[in-house]
Subunit: 383 residues, 2 copies
């Protein structure tokens, strides 16, 4: 019989405690110890005070990192990989920021690095990308990859509530953090898109190159205007493989009711990949939360204990973002006209206006300028 | 370096030739030979005439069976397992009919038996069930698992065409076979539900116990009536774990437009599982066709070559089907009244009627009797 995997758990917060419960309940996994500043009631495993104790312990084969944030997670994870321990993490901030270094380190040290919970919460999304990419080129990714913003948009559409009310409701239900800035401005979903695109296309994208517009400026009046257009607003992350580079961008998008994205409720995610032969495949499930996140962390541990090795890909090609081929019409709501808009406007609505087809870099470039004098303006592409 | 997996391919039909192309294109897989009565142009691998040649060849580690049908597939697959060869197959008829024997044989001979393409075409459905079931109890399965019937229903809803016209269109496009009986009467989807439920709940169901109603009796007038009810008709397979046994049934169902099933177009599938902690997860993709099916067969080969062993589960508990706890209202269209219906009718429509809540065994039992004198009658549950 195989010896159970021996795990050190870094972090006993919301997700960490869920992981703790799952490991304790699973016969193939053994929790050697945990490291955490705060120890919730009921935790019975040894608590260690410093990472060196874990790194020196040769009986520990896997480190699960659920502290979050860049530091000290970066030091702990790189230390664990260098000490020849497998790492399982949900830390999208860390993986997106240090992708090349971490994947290389795992390869050099012959250990696994898995982060399925970093994109799509409890959805087997990164593992599905891995499976497909092992067989054929993935040509596209797109979808709803942030539960907080989906909850807010869904609530505004369903109840007609204001952005502030929908946000505060999301916070009360634990779907939004006390400081939700990274969810609202798109930084969170951008990390997920970068990790997903890197795995799908075998490349390493620079986060800063991914054009990103969140939903922080949306208002109840915008939603009412979308209803008159018979569209549903969703925050969509999308990327596609180009002959030379990758298109990758995040923006609010107005979907017709016939598109499956329109029907995604509450804090759920819907993410799709398109492969050359397999066509489009979509994955739906809870995008965040204690148990969905802990679920994928456990799945990663089980995969590693079954012999799945390395990272999801070992291809680390340099690639740059080029969105110039993506052209769409946009809904634009500004507090006045300007020269560019005058030229591009196709139709003035009761509230807001619709542009002619413009490219992603063009409108996002304009938006950045415009925000300086019109900080509350808002755009959403028409799908 | 690992030696590539050495494969014998049984069958070079529509799916078989897709598998042939994929294997030839993949560096980790080697095609030793194929066995087929008809050999398509362009096939360059050795063709063997009899199965014994393959079973005796110790360099062949994996047999891919895409002949279909019960015989000689049963003899070939059991022979391969007994000869200690891994088996990858898309044959749902075979797996559903001989589930216990085949899973046991694979276990006894220490080889893998994989059949991901048998349910959900190119969707990673059985592997997702395997992953979830390894961690926590799956409580439910449901969804659209047959592309032919979804194509017919979708076409009838969209274009108002008759059943016969929609079927002939599906046949022209290759979405329905020349003899589509097993798709239309639900036998095909029943096999998929049985295999899925067995893996999800760790049991062995008898196909004959699964209450099954297909769409062979639906008419354009039924569809028009559903539109007036603002519902979309889909053929739904569903099962759930009970304290003592399993509920499992297949029937046309009338979905409100807000349910994701309503939006599934053409020959696509949408299948969902519900786990205790993970909640609901759904998987969308092409449910059939040369490349989607060949895709999952290749994925199975790659999984086996990566060290995935055995079947999706080794639990083979006896379980019986009990649908008595499932109660719903039904749309019923008959050519006259009878005593049971008189008692159960809740509302008479312009066309057809709606019953009060009745149990699945009750209405399907009544339907079976009723068909003897009213062969064209039709039912669909209200969701």
């Amino acid at each position: 019989m195989k010896k159970p995997m021996k795990i050190a758990l870094l972090g006993l917060g919301t997700v960490g405690f869920g992981v703790y419960e799952f490991i304790q309940a699973h016969k193939d996994l053994e929790l050697a110890c945990a490291m955490s500043l705060v120890v919730p009631e009921g935790v019975t495993c040894p608590i260690v005070a410093d990472i060196e104790t874990i790194l020196r312990d040769e009986t520990i084969d896997t480190v699960v990192e659920v502290i979050g944030g860049l530091h000290p997670a970066y030091e702990f994870v790189t230390g664990a990989l260098r000490a020849h321990k497998n790492v399982v993490t949900a830390n999208k901030l860390l993986i997106a920021a240090h992708y090349r270094e971490l994947v290389t380190l795992a390869g050099e040290n012959g250990v696994s690095l898995r982060c399925t919970a970093a994109a799509g919460g409890g959805i087997p999304w990164l593992t599905s990308l891995e499976r497909t990419a092992a067989q054929e080129p993935i040509t596209r990714i797109s979808g709803i990859m942030n539960g907080t913003t989906n909850y807010i948009l869904d609530t505004m559409h369903r109840t007609g509530s204001s952005f502030a009310d929908a946000l505060s409701q999301a916070q009360q239900l634990g779907y939004a953090e006390r400081n939700p800035a990274d969810d609202l401005n798109g930084a969170d979903i951008r990390r997920k898109l970068v990790i997903s695109s890197n795995i799908a296309y075998g490349c390493v994208l620079d986060e800063a190159e991914v054009v990103t517009e969140g939903i922080e400026h949306i208002t109840g009046a915008d939603i009412a205007a979308f209803k008159r257009l018979n569209r549903v607003c969703k925050l969509i992350a999308a990327s596609r493989r180009l002959e030379n580079g990758v298109a990758a961008y995040i923006e609010p998008a107005l979907m017709p009711p016939s598109m499956p994205e329109s029907a995604i409720p509450q804090n759920y995610n819907l993410i799709s990949l398109t492969g050359e032969h397999i066509g489009k495949q979509s994955f739906y499930g809870q995008g965040a939360g204690r148990y969905p996140t802990a679920y994928n962390i456990l799945q990663d541990c089980l995969d590693v204990s079954r012999g799945v090795s390395g990272f999801y890909t070992d291809r680390l090609n340099e690639a740059h973002v080029d969105n110039s081929s993506i052209r769409r019409q946009y809904y634009v709501r500004v507090s006045g006209m300007d020269k560019w808009l005058q030229e591009k406007v196709d139709k003035i609505l009761d509230y807001g206006m619709i542009t002619k087809e413009v490219s992603v870099p063009e409108i996002h470039g304009w938006l950045k300028q415009r925000r300086r004098t019109d900080p509350g303006c808002f755009i959403a592409s028409l799908r």
